[in-house]
Symmetry: C2
Subunit: 152 residues, 2 copies
DNA sequence: GGTATGTTTGCGAACGATTTGCATTATGAT
DNA sequence: ATCATAATGCAAATCGTTCGCAAACATACC
């Protein structure tokens, strides 16, 4: 069956190979922010003959085609999420790495104003908040799944 | 003579070696956001027998001692600035990489509110805005110095 | 359904930024 | 000055990522 991202790729006229189909499927099914290794790990389960180099290449392809977006969460490797039109940002739970997405129209407005006051037009921006749950004081490694996200 | 950062290091009880003194001086005199190679380049001018490994080690030492702060501007290498108590952020001029620092109390408040609404207490955060000057449409490589910064 | 042509893949080597092991040298306390 | 300890330089190692190249596709054409 055709995954959501695969359909998108076809629309954009990308040549669909077996490995690209698998990677598209993996990304369609992901509701977190996997890095390349993680995508590879999941892809190999479906078809073991996919090399990490191909995953790297495909991620770049999909990024260029604006099917996915790279998010830099400051942990040294590139993470990805499906491309979306809405601006959203990430709150990272420092206890366990879980990532919560959020959007804020006020934030968008404020950021526009700041840029304008500095004499600039925004072409991109990025905000990350690192935090721990209210009430949590220590470093409890909660047993909940990591990076479930919240609809934005 | 003793540089500002060197004094800070002494206060913190760090062992001051020749190379640490030189690196402290370089960082004290910097008003931009140099990466490790750039710090090394400047340090070697003062004392040619400083290795890049020492610069890496010293940067980490100073970061751990909270004398300097690492800033990740998304360009793949670590950049540094003197530690400061005020929260500020960076607007990066995408035409030439110049970095403008800014602070915004409203932003701080908003970000606190967002975190609270999500049930989190902030332990850190980071905002970068990428932009081009108002009026500038193309890619003019202005002849002004890069990354002069603006007092926050 | 074959077949030519241009792509894509897998592999391992190369990469750039950063860290590390280890023998040598310097520091700060005595 | 002495000495234990910590810092340095060097080169090798590491990590995430890219690249060259020959072999394996995908697609347009017959």
């Amino acid at each position: 069956m055709t995954s959501r991202l695969e359909a998108l790729c076809l629309e954009k006229g990308l040549k669909m190979t077996g490995q690209r189909r698998v990677i598209s499927q993996v990304l369609s099914e992901a509701d977190d922010h996997p890095d390349v290794e993680e995508v590879h790990r999941r892809a190999v389960v479906i078809d073991p003959r996919i090399s990490i180099a191909t995953v790297y290449r495909t991620m770049r392809l999909l990024e260029d085609a604006q099917v996915i977006e790279k998010v830099d969460l400051g942990d040294g490797r590139a993470r990805y999420e499906e491309a979306s039109t809405d601006h959203h940002h990430h709150l990272i739970d420092t206890r366990n790495g879980r990532i919560i997405e959020f959007a804020s129209p006020e934030l968008e407005a404020l950021k526009e104003r700041i840029a304008r006051e500095l004499g600039y037009r925004i072409v991109g921006h990025r905000l990350e908040i690192y935090g721990i749950p209210l009430g949590a004081d220590g470093n409890d490694d909660a047993d909940e799944p990591v990076d479930k996200g919240v609809p934005v």
